[in-house]
């Protein structure tokens, strides 16, 4: 039993035919069918696997008929008008209770109800107590009425689907944490979701839709809204990041996108979607602060450490001047160690200061020849080693200082960490979409892949300080300089195969020739 009901429910659901309004849905059609075909009875039914469900009828047939007894069972297995001219003469019907008992049916004509998916939903049929045959016009009429039944069903289905869709959209809007609202050209709020409404104190929430609500905001804020609204009507779309004191007293940072749209009559409206980015903005603020604190700390620490270190250095040099000859053996060696450590610390402080200053005065992007820039940096390195530097003769538009910093550090590393007294450095530049891809390749000892991650860390060196002098800030500085311009650096290298550092640097607009 439940199975049959299920099918019926499915159809009813699909076509949104509720029990309450089902009965009179096709009443007009069945009346028209009896009149047009000149028959006393007519019905519209749905048919499932084993039952016929009579929806509307002229007559007094039961609303539920077993399919094995139903004449309509024969209609639904074909697509045209199906007629039984005399039920008593037809093997399929002569034993039927509808024939043998009241109302003693002798004639049947039915048309299947076929939807646009070619599914047969049921039938429209006419019946008589006398044998008969339908003429051509009556057949056409019956078919048209059947079509009408299906059209009505499909329409209901569409309406139902639309209302479901509307419910869905409403649900999406209502559950969206973004503030969604629509305004008309008088700046009155026509629509607002609950997130938007929650910005207003509860007692005035029913005075939001249909109102401008501008008086609820600070005068300046309200004026700013209007400026933005007018701009949206003019331009079609605007975006703003703004701090707003809401009528509830809360202060939030919103990222608001306003889009103009028009109705069928060409009247303009604004759809606004505002995202609460207070937490995000606060985090960004905090990050900026802690970054600048860190830079400031590095600056002050290194600056304040530099003065006493300089004093030590000078005092040590004076001792050497005044008492150099007196020092012997271990003492002389210890004295050398002190001087060596002073120099090392000096270098570390210098790098730390440089690191904290990276990005401070980068300047604007300008047209630079990569070859010239690299050669200039190489000369400044002032190295004794004999290296061949090959650079692409190509122009790039980048800020000068960070480019020099990056090239200098990478070349200096390639040379400093090279296992031979001479070597080869190749610098290439490719245009990749909106980026420059600059690669710096050396033929040095290479770096094992397991160490690739390590080398970009601050104060990280792969060799003891006594072997190769370095603060371990070079690559960290390169990375920081690049990050300031949304650039990236990666390494391709293996032991014995040299190393290639690949820089991806987004192109920027040139501001000077």
């Amino acid at each position: 039993m439940p199975k049959r009901d299920e099918f019926r429910i499915q159809i009813l659901k699909k076509y949104n035919i509720l029990d309450s309004d089902i009965n009179d849905l096709f009443d007009d059609i069945v009346v028209l069918a009896t009149e047009g075909c000149d028959k006393p009875f007519a019905m519209v039914s749905f048919i499932d696997t084993d039952k016929q469900w009579v929806i509307s009828q002229v007559g007094s047939f039961p609303s539920k008929i077993d399919l094995e007894k139903a004449f309509c069972a024969h209609t639904v297995i074909q697509t045209d008008v199906f007629e039984i001219f005399d039920t008593l003469l037809d093997d399929r019907t002569k034993q039927s209770e509808f024939v043998l008992e009241a109302p003693n049916i002798r004639y049947y004509a039915g048309v299947p109800l076929i939807n646009s998916d070619k599914q047969t939903l049921g039938t429209l049929c006419v019946l008589d107590t006398k044998p008969h045959i339908l003429n051509k016009h009556q057949k056409i009429m019956l078919k048209l009425l059947a079509k009408d039944v299906v059209s009505q069903l499909e329409l209901r289905k569409k309406n139902y689907e639309l209302s479901k869709l509307k419910d869905l959209y409403q649900m999406i809007t209502e559950n969206n944490p973004d503030l969604i609202f629509a305004k008309d050209s008088d700046f009155k709020i026509l629509h607002a979701n609950s997130a938007f409404l929650s910005l207003y104190p509860e007692e005035i929430r029913d005075k939001v839709i249909g109102y401008t609500t501008l008086e609820e905001f600070d005068e300046q804020e309200a004026e700013a809204f209007l400026v933005q609204d007018r701009l949206t009507f003019e331009q079609g779309k605007t975006e703003t990041l703004e701090k707003i004191a809401f009528p509830t007293g809360e202060i939030r940072t919103l990222f608001t996108t306003k889009t103009r749209f028009e109705d069928d009559e060409g009247k303009a409206y604004i759809l606004g979607v505002a995202r609460d980015v207070t937490e995000r903005e606060e985090l960004i603020e905090m990050l900026k602060k802690s970054n600048s604190d860190l830079d400031e700390f590095a600056y002050i620490a290194s600056h304040d450490l530099k003065a006493p270190l300089n004093a030590i250095k000078r005092l040590v040099s004076w001792i050497e001047e005044d008492a150099g000859e007196v020092l012997q053996g271990d003492s002389l060696e210890h004295f050398g160690m002190i001087k060596n450590r002073i120099n090392r610390m000096n270098m570390l402080l210098k790098d730390l200061l440089d690191y904290s200053r990276v990005g401070k005065n980068d300047g604007l992007p300008q047209k630079l020849n990569l070859q010239e820039t690299a050669r200039h940096c190489y000369q400044l390195l002032d190295l004794a080693e004999d290296f061949v530097i090959n650079v692409d003769d190509i122009d790039v538009v980048l800020p000068k200082l960070p480019l020099e910093l990056v090239l200098t550090n990478l070349m200096s590393n390639a040379i400093k960490h090279h296992d031979k007294k001479s070597g080869h450095i190749i610098i290439k530049c490719k245009h990749i979409k909106n980026d420059y891809q600059i690669s710096v390749t050396d033929d040095g000892p290479g770096i094992a892949p397991s160490l690739h991650e390590k080398i970009f860390k601050k104060f990280q060196t792969l060799k003891p300080r006594d072997e190769i002098e370095g603060s371990g800030l070079g690559l960290a500085m390169v990375e920081k300089a690049l990050a300031n311009h949304s650039g990236k650096i990666s390494i391709k290298s293996d032991v014995g195969k040299g190393a290639t550092f690949v820089i991806t640097w987004p192109k920027q607009e040139a501001t000077s020739k």
Partner: protein, 138 residues
């Protein structure tokens, strides 16, 4: 040879010590030390009393002035000094800046005062440079 009197204004004891050491090496003998712009300025303000006490060595012929000091920095001192100069006779005073770093902006700012005659870098100024800066006034 007339030995100029020198006033050192620097908050760092070791800097003052080393500067003194260097100055003595090139022959200076009359050196007064102050550890801040304010105390340096007050020394000049107590004009009559100090004139009596130091006689010809007051006001100092040369003031060696640190740039970064906690309470009154070098530049504030220059400002105050310019004002004080309108009240008491400090025309014989010459100032040499003594800075931890070579900052061109700092340098040109200091030289805007006509009484600033030199700019020395801490730790990087050799005996000769110091001699030049000081000896200039001998």
């Amino acid at each position: 040879m007339l030995k100029p009197s020198i006033l050192i204004i620097d908050d760092s004891e070791i800097e003052r010590y080393m500067l003194c050491h260097q100055l003595k090496k090139i022959g200076a003998t009359k050196i007064i030390q102050k550890d801040d712009g304010t105390s340096g300025l007050n020394f000049l303000k107590d004009y009559a009393q100090n004139k009596q006490h130091y006689a010809a060595d007051f006001p100092p012929a040369i003031i060696i002035l640190d740039v970064n000091m906690p309470i009154m920095g070098g530049f504030e001192f220059l400002q105050e000094f310019a004002e004080l100069k309108t009240q008491v006779d400090l025309d014989s005073c010459q100032i040499v800046m003594y800075s931890g770093s070579e900052n061109p902006q700092e340098k040109s700012r200091a030289f805007q005062y006509e009484f600033v005659k030199g700019f020395l870098i801490k730790g990087e100024s050799s005996k000769e440079e110091l001699k030049n800066a000081i000896g200039h006034f001998e």
